[in-house]
Symmetry: C2
Subunit: 401 residues, 2 copies
Amino acid sequence: MEAIRTRTLPPEFIAREAQQERPPDLTSRLNTWYARLAAANPAADIEAGESCGARLIIPDDPEWPTQLDQLGMSRPLGLWAHGTADLRFSCLKSVAVVGARAATSYGSHVAAEFGIGLSESGWTVVSGGAFGVDGAAHKGALAAGSPTVVVLACGVDVCYPSSHDTLFAAVRKQGVVISECPPGVHPTRARFLIRNRLIAALSRGTVVVEAAVRSGALNTATHALSLNRHLGAVPGPITSSMSAGCHRLLRERKAVCVTSPEDMIDLVGVLGEDLASQTRAPIFPRDKLNEPTKRVLDAVPARGGAGPASIAVAAGVGLDATLSALGGLAAAGYIERTTNGWRLRKQTTAYRKAPDSAALAPPPTPEPDPTDTPPAPDDFPTPEIERRPHTVSERDDFLRG
Amino acid sequence: MEAIRTRTLPPEFIAREAQQERPPDLTSRLNTWYARLAAANPAADIEAGESCGARLIIPDDPEWPTQLDQLGMSRPLGLWAHGTADLRFSCLKSVAVVGARAATSYGSHVAAEFGIGLSESGWTVVSGGAFGVDGAAHKGALAAGSPTVVVLACGVDVCYPSSHDTLFAAVRKQGVVISECPPGVHPTRARFLIRNRLIAALSRGTVVVEAAVRSGALNTATHALSLNRHLGAVPGPITSSMSAGCHRLLRERKAVCVTSPEDMIDLVGVLGEDLASQTRAPIFPRDKLNEPTKRVLDAVPARGGAGPASIAVAAGVGLDATLSALGGLAAAGYIERTTNGWRLRKQTTAYRKAPDSAALAPPPTPEPDPTDTPPAPDDFPTPEIERRPHTVSERDDFLRG
């Protein structure tokens, strides 16, 4: 500062810069800075900020988010904040939801869902103030009642885009709008890119909802990775160019595939505290049958009918065990006896109309006959190849007539 | 075989089995096998196969695909093949395209695109014969002219599903239909699972196009992984349950994100021979401007106008370099001079109506003025935070009035 004001550089700074491969023309740069200094008026900035209701937060303030210190040399000198929420407290558990301005309806839907889901779980959304993903994520978060943080690339008193004035007003009531630019500054291309590092640094992790291969959201993603924050990407149709950037992050294994707010909380959350429940495959009543009973059920024909002996051969289960399993399956409503032998019952009645009826309950495990010893499920070859070292079934198929 | 026929087990086999934690009831299992042996008629199988036009391929035959030997104990004893294509040769460069029977229109579209793309690049599609992804992949592959391999879970003379008879007939003409089941055998649940290991083992890699969290395609994926084959998964909308299985494979980093046939060939192909071209971000004319010229362009207002001095301060570029850049930008049609100073030209004229006109060509690099030394682009701080250790722009924004 002093160096710029007096237009003389400290000798040690000149010496350090001269060691670089291509030493910059320091005099020319100093002159540029001097010209900019003349236009600066910090006192007027403070006044303008106060008059619009914003506050200036600087490092060591109680509201300063200390995670920004990880930015090192590029840590902002201060942040203008406008809104009721405490910035530091709001960002303790926060996720950056970023993505394309020109989001598809799918992207906007997903961003809003993430805003709602994160907010409902007590997580703060951090994002820019743009149309598309940014706006949808904030709207979702506001609807679910948690604070949300808008990081602008212009002064906090400048509404860009201008039609987001009601959104920003709502954020100021429930969350906070911040910027490192002083009041009155308008956004430029460069300021958006510089701003993105704040979005990545404020939050515990960043999720990219939709991004083309060339997108500002990928710039935020790069910042998140360089700060060792978690990075998630939401997949989308491969036919959509607005998901191509997300897919590239996934393909290069830079980002984790995130399909729900819970997935993202699982990624950034504290183990044991925020662990998401894993998606489970549905369990069908049939799964609860033991292995020989399942094999018998598979061997019962859907049409016509078959006798117990041929079912036993087809299933590869002993005759006594087969008879026992057939009884159990019939009692549970899986199969029925006709004049031609056993056949499957039509599923329409048993499965669709009365899904909770007793007919759906797993059939009782066939009573072991003392004269026969039905094999325990684990002894029996299962269809999974990993658990079945012998190729009994293939050999069997191969030999059967 | 002999042991089953005579119903006596070799003593060393009994001893080996008895060492297991839970020794199976060998006598009961032997009786089961004996009952099945009675139903087997290999001579009739061969005759039935030949009468329908199928051939039996066994290990050491010239047509035997030796990659199946990696299945170890679960290698099939033989394969019935029906079709004109040579099985071994067809599978040298092959990809398994698998997925849900109940595919969405998105899944069917993607499967067909993969079939076409792989086939056009000389790769063979290996898949089952089901509706949905299997059928769409085969149809795409047939349309593009390469052989395709259908692996059935029933005899090659059994058409399951029956409405795929014309598809299978077309595959027999251009590719080959195979099965390890002898002719006449009908599919069962267990046979589908056993069949899946063949699809994984025949191909160099497997791509899952669409799969619910509980899907046979994930069984094939597990086989591919256990055989150390490449595994790809096609992402889809997170709102679609038919993509949930693919997303889980991606999230658990078991599969690579695959968004095109080229991506898949890149994964399974030989380095240097099959390398796919990487998706490139589009390049805009603006990208070709040098760094100070870009900064000057960013500092020119869209409305009203600004003088060179204030533009120079806003851009952080020396006045002489700014004047030179303004001239170049005006000549290239980016900006225009009004009575209020310089402002951006409306993009509609320059960009949309005449995208190839001279106005779009990058402006000439401003001639360096001998009296001023404009900084070389690399010396200048760029908006990317990684390349800019000093927070010049932030400090600048912070100080500006």
